[in-house]
């Protein structure tokens, strides 16, 4: 008997230690980015917020035959003498593309912080406080509008910083360390792109600085990532210490300009006050409509009801109300009952395929939200296009500015009509995902998706059909999930594509095409 027990215990123990499970990220083993076109003239591309590419001065670098530069090359050689596997792994990671990696990190942060607060004992809800970000609930609550704005600021700031970077690269034309000294090995694909100031350090600096505003509790982690990216490029022989320092300084300066804009863009007031919340109800009732109410229990105040007042990137604030579509069916009408019946019939006995759509596009609590979802879809294709870093940044800036402006326009419409969700009209409608805590008309997913598909179809025209297919699927998933009327979805796509057209217009004129 002892023998049997002994053998069993050994077997079990062997199984415990033998099974090494792994579910690797699909982008874990990307090849290093090797741009098809280094976009040498990107320094002349139209900036977003900076008035000129040389708004911030970058001093001329030391000559490559100077003693200082030789010292810097020695530092690189020192690193390269003993590169550990972990160091090689960071080089491999960052060489896939800095804009891509920062976007992934950003999506990770949004996912982590997309968590609604737990209620107080009295049934009210605590609100995250930017001035006390570590107190529960942590700041920020990275819900879809917050996330859309965060992605847009990061992408726009990276773009302006990289345009400035390219301007000085061309101006000073100092080539990469591996090109100046044959004993410096290139651990990344070589390029004739000048290395002063380092584009990796520009990205590290601009992103780390922006994050102080957007994800203040993550500063320590972000700064560490920034240092890792910079060091990786030095160890790879792609940048010297002075390339890095000049790049990081430039990046942080550009970020300051965007932070100043962000502090004054009205997002800080988007939560509103109890008086504001009550007012939406009063206005809707005065129009003879049933006002939206929260279907959460206890009832949660509406999500960022004043986000429609946030200053857009692609058009003036005064343009926002011009996107407002015609009103949805009146809440007391037969038409709304019919619309709810369509939703009910969709949801009665959902197919597995419906459930898959709803779940794939749920983008609710604990996800990177619809804007992040579209960034992820864009990344899949951008990776195959081998864009230069500055073009990656430009394309993400166009996409994310459109997504942020889509959020602004959509939120303006939602709170202008303050329209109830289908389940509020017909409580028999059960949903395949959580009902988002804001009014129904128009669908946020549809607005985001219409904007994203419009922009991406312009950037990667050969994939236009795919993007529109996905946009329609995203839009219809909200009907299949029971959380939107069909009209919310259809109108959302149309309004979203109108917003997206502003980004396309910009794309045609920014000098990159």
């Amino acid at each position: 008997m002892k023998k049997i027990i002994f053998i069993s215990i050994i077997t079990v123990t062997a199984i415990v230690f033998a099974c090494n499970k792994n579910a690797p990220d699909v982008t874990a083993n990307l090849s290093p980015l090797q741009p098809q076109n280094i976009d040498m003239n990107a320094g002349s591309w139209k900036t977003i917020l900076l008035s000129r590419s040389d708004t911030f001065t970058v001093v001329a670098p030391a000559a490559t035959n100077s003693a200082n530069y030789k010292t810097e090359l020695n530092e690189i050689k020192g690193y390269q003498k003993n590169l550990t596997d972990a160091q090689l792994a960071t080089i491999k990671y960052w060489s896939a593309g800095g804009v891509l990696r920062w976007n992934e990190l950003m999506r990770g942060l949004v996912t982590k912080y997309n968590l609604p607060a737990y209620q107080n004992p009295d049934g009210s809800y605590p609100i995250p406080n930017a001035n006390n970000p570590f107190a529960y609930p942590l700041f920020p609550f990275a819900n879809p509008p917050y996330a859309a704005r965060a992605y847009a600021y990061i992408s726009a700031a990276q773009y302006d910083a990289l345009v400035a970077c390219w301007y000085y690269k061309k101006l000073y034309n100092r080539s990469a360390p591996y090109a100046n000294d044959s004993s410096v090995k290139a651990k990344v694909p070589t390029s004739i792109l000048p290395s002063y100031p380092s584009e990796a350090a520009v990205m590290a600096g601009v992103t780390a600085e922006m994050m102080k505003l957007l994800f203040p509790t993550e500063i320590a982690n972000i700064e560490q990532k920034a240092k890792e990216q910079e060091l990786a490029m030095m160890m790879a022989g792609a940048a010297t210490r002075s390339d890095i320092v000049a790049g990081e300084t430039l990046g942080r300066q550009v970020a300051e300009a965007f932070i100043a804009r962000a502090k004054a863009d009205n997002a800080g007031k988007a939560v509103g006050t109890p008086t504001d919340w009550k007012n939406f109800e009063t206005v809707a009732t005065a129009k003879g409509e049933i006002p939206w109410y929260s279907l959460e229990s206890p009832k949660r105040p509406p999500m960022l009801p004043l986000f429609g007042n946030v200053k857009p990137f692609l058009f003036p604030s005064s343009t926002v109300p011009t996107f407002r579509p015609a009103p949805p069916p009146a809440t007391h009408s037969q038409a709304v009952q019919d619309a709810a019946a369509i939703v009910y019939n969709k949801i009665k006995s959902p197919t597995r395929e419906n459930i898959r759509h709803v779940q794939f596009w749920a983008d609710g609590v604990g996800t990177f939200t619809p804007p992040g979802h579209w960034d992820a879809i864009a990344a899949q294709d951008f990776i195959t296009k081998n864009f230069s870093e500055v073009r990656w940044a430009r394309n993400y800036a166009l996409l994310n500015m459109a997504l942020m402006d889509a959020a602004i326009v959509c939120w303006d419409v939602k709170y202008y009509y303050y329209n109830p969700r289908p389940t509020q009209i017909n409580p028999a409608i059960k949903t395949l995902t959580g009902i988002p805590n804001f009014p129904s008309y128009i669908s946020g997913h549809s607005t985001f998706s219409g904007a994203a598909a419009t922009v991406l179809a312009h950037i990667v025209p050969e994939q236009a059909d795919k993007y529109w297919g996905l946009a329609n699927q995203a839009s219809m998933s909200r009907l299949e999930g029971g959380i939107h009327y069909k009209e919310d979805c259809d109108t959302g796509l149309v309004v979203g594509s109108k917003v997206g057209n502003y980004a396309v217009l910009r794309a045609k004129q920014d000098g990159a095409e």
């Binding site: 002892k2 968590l115 529960y136 597995r352 395949l432």
Partner: protein, 317 residues
């Protein structure tokens, strides 16, 4: 008191058993006779209003009471008196009494186990038995696991190994059991998710599980009544954060106490009823569930049927 090596060993085994399971026939100390097939249906009702996010215990007015009903086709067959095959296939329906989330339903995972009576020793009226059980379960339909707490299951293909030690004196018995379950990775409908870090894949690494249980009670022929304590421990996994959604690879632990019983009607077509009530005393990232189950089984005795058939032929001749 003299602490012998033997005592120490026994004590360690007991501690492992006390640490940690679930209640099904692959865990008990009973075997089917050769060529006997016991088949039946078990209806199970499980419900909870309170649950744990990590160690934080709460209720949720957006869920109310979450209930899971299942009807399982189950059974056991005696290849020999010392080697049984057991199986189970449940149809599951979940429901939340409040909030707006949709019910889920469907055929869940099929399980098959081989149970081997590895060793037995009888000393007068005492009986010591060791069983080993190996099992495998897999999803039979393409249901969605990533819709907790209303998903009907976790989808993970699972291989398990169980050790059962049974001691019986006259009609009283004690059964200790420990099991280890290897859970295969699953695929979800999303292409990114967050655990304690970001994952850019639809593949989810599922932590393995450890189970242990202790039962004791009265056993006579096919009938028994027992008290049980069972524990499930996830080896790894992560906690649900406050007010976050649950996820298939959460650390889901629980300890249940309950009573089980089986009664075979004498001289009535070899039909037996089973019943069970259990309660979750403590848990982590699971609901504090009350569980009720009732089953009906019939034994088909192919060995004696063959015998009868032979006898019948003999009479005719």
């Amino acid at each position: 008191m003299k602490i012998t090596y033997k005592k120490l060993f026994f004590f360690s085994v007991l501690m492992i058993l006390l640490q940690n399971i679930q209640a099904q026939t692959e865990q008990d100390g009973i075997m089917m006779a050769k060529q006997n097939w016991c088949a039946g249906f078990v209806y199970n009702y499980n419900s909870w209003s309170n649950y744990w996010e990590g160690t934080f215990k709460r209720n949720n007015a957006n869920l109310g009471t979450v209930s899971t009903q299942s009807l399982a086709f189950m059974g056991a067959y005696g290849i020999t008196g010392k080697l049984n095959v057991l199986y189970s296939l449940p149809y599951v329906h979940t429901h939340a009494s409040a909030g707006t989330l949709h019910d889920m339903q469907g055929l869940q995972d099929a399980g098959i186990w081989v149970k081997w009576q590895a060793w037995q020793k009888k000393v007068q009226q005492q009986k010591y038995t060791v069983f080993l059980t190996g099992g495998y379960s897999f999803p039979t339909t393409n249901y969605q696991a990533d819709f907790l707490p209303l998903a009907i299951g976790l989808r993970s293909k699972t291989a398990s190994l169980r050790l059962i030690l049974d001691y019986q004196k006259k009609n009283f018995f004690v059964t200790g059991t420990a099991a280890y379950a290897y859970r295969d990775n699953i695929y979800i409908d999303r292409f990114a998710y967050y655990t304690t870090e970001m994952h850019y894949t639809n593949e989810v690494a599922m932590p393995n599980m450890m189970y242990a249980g202790l039962r004791f009670g009265y056993r006579k022929k096919e009938d028994y009544a027992e008290v049980m304590v069972v524990n499930a421990t996830t080896l790894g996994g992560f906690d649900i954060r406050k007010n976050d959604m649950p996820f298939p690879s959460n650390k889901m632990n629980n300890t249940l106490v309950g009573i089980n019983g089986k009664y075979a009607f004498p001289h009535f077509h070899r039909i037996a009823l089973t019943g069970s009530v259990s309660y979750t005393v403590t848990g982590r990232n699971v609901g504090q569930a009350t569980n009720l189950s009732i089953g009906v089984f019939k034994v088909f005795d192919f060995a004696s049927a063959k015998q009868k058939h032979t006898n019948h032929n003999q009479v005719n001749n």
